[in-house]
Structure formats: C-alpha cells, structure tokens
C-alpha cells in the first residue's frame, strides 16, 4: 500500500493544482460550525475541525436538485413533455471527509443502485467524486463509529486517507482514483517505510479514544412485529418535536420528495430531501395517514435504520456512528440508547419493575 508524504508547505499549492481538473469541496468554518462547501479557487479546506454540523451527503446528493425541465406553452412544439435538465458530472473531489461519512455513501448506494432500478442522478454524481478522507486522531465524545461498522481510520468508501502527522500529512493511496488526484496535485513523494506502521499506531490510538458504543448483534434475530409493538416507543418518542434535524444532518438518510415548480409557462420537476419525521411524508390524498402520530414516525426512523435495513441488506445497520443526531437533537434523543433497547428487547420479559 503506497503512502505519499505531503509537506504542509506544499498543501496550498497542490490544492490549487487539483482545482484545475476537479471541482473541490471541503470543510469551511462559518459563524460557529464547519460545513462542507464548494471551495472557491484558492480557498483551502479548514481541517481544524472535529466534524461538520451537516453531513457531506449533499456533495453527491444535493438538498434540491432539478431532474427535468418542461414548457407549458402550447405554442412550443414539445410542450408538456419532460426534458432532461443539464447536469455537470465532471470530476469533483471532497477533501477532508471523515471516514464515517465516506462509509455512509456505501450504505446509501444500496438504496440508489439496485439490481432493478438505477437512480442516475445519485450514481453519476457518486461516480464523479473522489473521496479524500481525513483520519480522526481525536474523535468526539458522541462518536460510536467503531461499533457501527466504521472507525476513525476506516478506509471503506475512500480513495485516499489523509493522516495528520504534525508537519506533514500522510496520504494513504486506496484506489487508482485517489492516486490520480494525488498526481494532479503534484504530491508524489513517497513516505519512508515506517509510515504504514505509524498510521496503524495512530489508528489504534484513535480507536481506543472512542468512548461510546452500540450493540447490534441481536437485531437481526428480533421479530419485526415484536420490536414494532415494543412498549418503549412511547418513552423514546415522548419528547420528540418532529423537527427533522436528525434526518437532515444524517449522512445515511436519503428520503426525498418530488415536486413540480412552475414559473410562468415553464417549470422544473425537482427532488428535495424529505423526512420521515414529517406527517406530510406519508399522508394519503384522502387524509388517512399510516404514520400520523409522532410515535409512529419516530419508530419508523429507528426501525428503518436498525431493523428494516439490517433485514433487507444483511450488511449491518444504516448508521455509521457519526453522532450528529445525538449532538443536535433539541430533546436529547440518543440513537445509542434506542439501539441498545432494541438489541436487548425481550417481549417475554415483564415490563414491570421487580418488587
């Protein structure tokens, strides 16, 4: 496995070179939080961050995206017929993505890239993207990636893994896509033979700093209908205000809405992120709503991530342990606690406290 050593003095110059052939995204500090943004020419990603407030899912999957355009003017020859909207699928790269977030794209891919149907917008955007990860030497207190199928130095979903080593970055080449990007930057100096061991040691140290965890080993064997009817949903959902912050921030939440938006005699069909927290998400035209109460909606969110996804793909939970929903929930709902309740649920156990 090749490791490139990037002197921090060569960092800005290399990024400038990358920008001549890639659209670049990276963490940028706003008033109080870091978020992933498209970087202007000459703008550097700010790697002095734990993680961004919103996940980088919008780099591949924009919050709002035009799918089709149309004319409603009957004088136009092809009025009322949808036309593909112009799209830019030229190469782009995201610099400084955390390993958990990079792994999330592999989870989401199972939804958009299926044997029967391919979502062309998500797939083409994903394929155009090079993922340059930034290993977490110092994880947050809310991180539980190591028990959610990822880790602070996890390489799945990445093309390059950057590791901060004081005066330099080690850049571990994971795919040829990643090597191409490093070449475009002109970063070609191979690190000395001790680098892989050093990275492994740093990774081990970072992993040991992850202070929280989830147990997921029993989820697959639980009966769906029993988990669905478990009494704890009342307690879990009691404080929820259905604000949708959790789904908005989550790197693995992918639900969307499709809407037509008209302006005069033309318009666009677009898709927008949507959320299972909102009653309009599922309401029928008749007014009937299969998930009309907040308990049903909160339950849907956790059952989807921790049971339905587990059963459907047999490939772990639909969560990478980034902890964003825990940090930003206004009423302190904690997916780690819910996951443990689900994982250890026994419908036969008496719900009453022992006397």
């Amino acid at each position: 496995m090749k490791v490139i050593k990037i002197d921090k003095n060569d960092w800005a110059g290399g990024i400038g070179k990358i920008q001549s052939s890639y659209r670049l995204y990276g963490p940028v500090k706003g008033d109080a939080f870091h978020d992933f943004k498209a970087l202007e020419k000459g703008e550097l990603p700010d790697l002095n961050f734990f993680n961004t407030r919103v996940s980088p899912k919008s780099v591949v999957y924009p919050q709002s995206e035009v799918m089709f355009e149309y004319s409603l003017d009957e004088k136009d020859a092809e009025h009322h017929i949808l036309k593909d909207a112009a799209k830019d699928y030229s190469p782009k790269a995201v610099l400084g993505i955390r390993p958990c977030d990079a792994a999330s794209f592999l989870l989401v891919k199972r939804n958009f890239d299926t044997p029967e149907y391919k979502d062309p917008y998500w797939i083409r955007s994903y394929e155009a993207t090079t993922f340059v990860g930034y290993a977490c030497n110092n994880p947050c207190s809310t991180c539980f990636c190591t028990t959610a199928g990822s880790g602070p130095f996890n390489e799945e979903g990445l093309d390059v893994l950057l590791v901060d080593e004081g005066d330099c970055y080690y850049a571990k080449v994971i795919t040829s896509k990643g090597e191409n990007l490093l070449n475009a930057a002109g970063w070609k100096t191979e690190a000395d033979g001790g680098a892989p061991d050093k990275i492994a040691a740093l990774g081990k140290e970072a992993g040991s700093k992850i202070g929280s965890s989830v147990a997921t080993d029993q989820l697959k064997d639980k009966k769906t209908t029993e988990l669905y009817e478990a009494p704890f949903w009342e307690d879990v959902s009691f404080a929820c205000i259905n604000c949708g912050t959790c789904t908005y921030l989550c790197p693995t939440c992918w639900c969307f809405d499709i809407q037509d938006e008209n302006s005069g005699c033309s318009g666009v069909r677009m898709r927008n992120w949507d959320s299972c927290m909102f009653p309009l998400f599922t309401i029928h035209g008749t007014g009937h709503n299969p998930r009309g109460t907040k308990l049903q909606r909160v339950r849907q969110r956790f059952m989807h991530k921790l049971k339905y996804y587990v059963d459907k793909y047999d490939n772990g939970i639909q969560c990478v342990g980034c902890g964003r929903c825990i940090r930003s929930c206004p009423v302190n709902i904690d997916i780690r606690r819910v996951c443990d309740m689900m994982n250890s649920y026994d419908p036969k156990a008496c719900a009453c406290p022992a006397k």
């Binding site: 799918m67 089709f68 017929i81 593909d84 969307f256 035209g285």
Partner: protein, 281 residues
Amino acid sequence: MLNPYMPYPVCIDEIITETEDRNLKTFKFVFLNPGDEDKFSYRAGQFAELSVTGKGEIPIGIASSPTEKGFVKFTVNKVGLVSSYLHSMKVGDIMGIRGPLGNSYPWDTLEGKNVVIIGGGFAFTTLRSSIIFMLDPANRKKFKNINVIYGARTPGMLLYRDELAAWEKRDDINMHITVDAVNDPDWKYNVGFVPAITEKKAPNADADTYAIICGPPVMIKFTQPVLDKLGYGHDHIIMSLENRMKCGIGMCGRCNIGKEFVCKDGPVFTLAQLNATPREY
C-alpha cells in the same frame, strides 16, 4: 443509464365519466412515440405514475388489460392536487406515464386455479384488468372457476357498468354484483355489503382457490373474517395495497410497510406476508 423517473409522453384519447357523483373518470391514453407501448409491457395488478406536467405525479393502478392493445386506461378518483387537475383536462392534452411499476397479481400461482375476485368501490380498476385478462380467449382455459363479488354504494357508483352487464350474461364467469342500498325496483342484482354477499356467494376454500381482495379498509376489515370462516388460508388471500408514493421504485422512502416497499415489493401481497409486517397502510 435508463432514467426510471422519465415518463413516456402520452396523449389523452378519451375521457369517460364513470360514476353518478362524477368523481371517477377513466382516461384512455395513447403513447406519442411509437415503440413506447412495447416498452410499457405490463401485467394485471401493476400500477403507473401518471405525470401531469406542472402539477406532479400520482400512482394509479392500470385498469386496462395487457390483452388490450393500442392504449392504456386508468380510472382516477378526484382527490388531491394532481387528480383534481387531471379531471379538468381534455381529450388531446399531453402528459406522461411512468411505469409499469410494482409487482402484479401472482399469475403464475393463479394458473390452473379457481379465482375469487372481491372488490369494493373504486378499487375495482386492476380487478377489471385482471378479469379482461382472464376472459381473453387465449387465457380463459388457464383458469378454473372465476367468481366476482363487486359492490358499490349505489348502482350509479359501480364502475364499468356496460362491461359488468356483459359479464353477467357470460357462462364462464360468475358475477355477484351488489349495492349497499337501492331505490330502483327493477334492480336485479344483490343488495347488501360486500362481506355479507361474500359469505353467501363465495366458494368454500380449498388448496386450488385463491381470493383477491381490493377495496376500502372497512370492506377489507369485515371481509377477512368471512374468508377465515370459509376456510381461506392467509397465503390464499391476495391483497393490493395503496400508500402515498413519489418515486415508485423503492427509493424515496415513504411507502414502506416494514422492510417492504408497497411500490416495488408490492402493491400485491398475500395476507400471510402482511401478517409478518407492520400494518402501516
């Protein structure tokens, strides 16, 4: 890469007002591009997204049968934004159809079997498709007895009345049409709710008899105990569900019942399958 969100452009060829309350209209569409009809090859029980440009899409069961060529038909209840606008459209207007979507009634399983169709209200659309399909001369011999129990509130609320009358006259299908109530002294069919008529008219269960139920929740709720009483196993009761949908291809996340998507894994499920999943429909 094929874009599953792109509808086929179609032209409205004919509009039929079906019911006396004028809330149900059947739209007959023809494809604008030659070749699209072949691509839209479907089975009875599937649905499509009707795309009204500038308003949005609605998932609607296909009412025409695969054996009917040159057009596709959908019967639409006037409910929300898109369906209300569609009801105001006229012959010659251009719109789109995306599909076919979902599974279908399990035709491989039903072959060689007795089929009991139980329908209520305007949920008779894919059942019409199924009846036309089974009665097609090329297909009729593939099925044993066909019984149809179909009810509406009043005679004027029954869909496809001319076809119902024609099927009544045939001897290769047993029709049991019913209405909740009627003033017409000449009404020569049944009076009573679908569950009661089912109890009287449906054949007893056996391994070779399958029931397909499609109707409003209240009808399904009271018909199921009747079928239980008649001895129908839950893997012999076939139901078609509805949920709010957008993508129609199992991606947008809203129509799931447990891990199954009504749009992609359904809309047709056996009651045995539904028993193992949350009833979020």
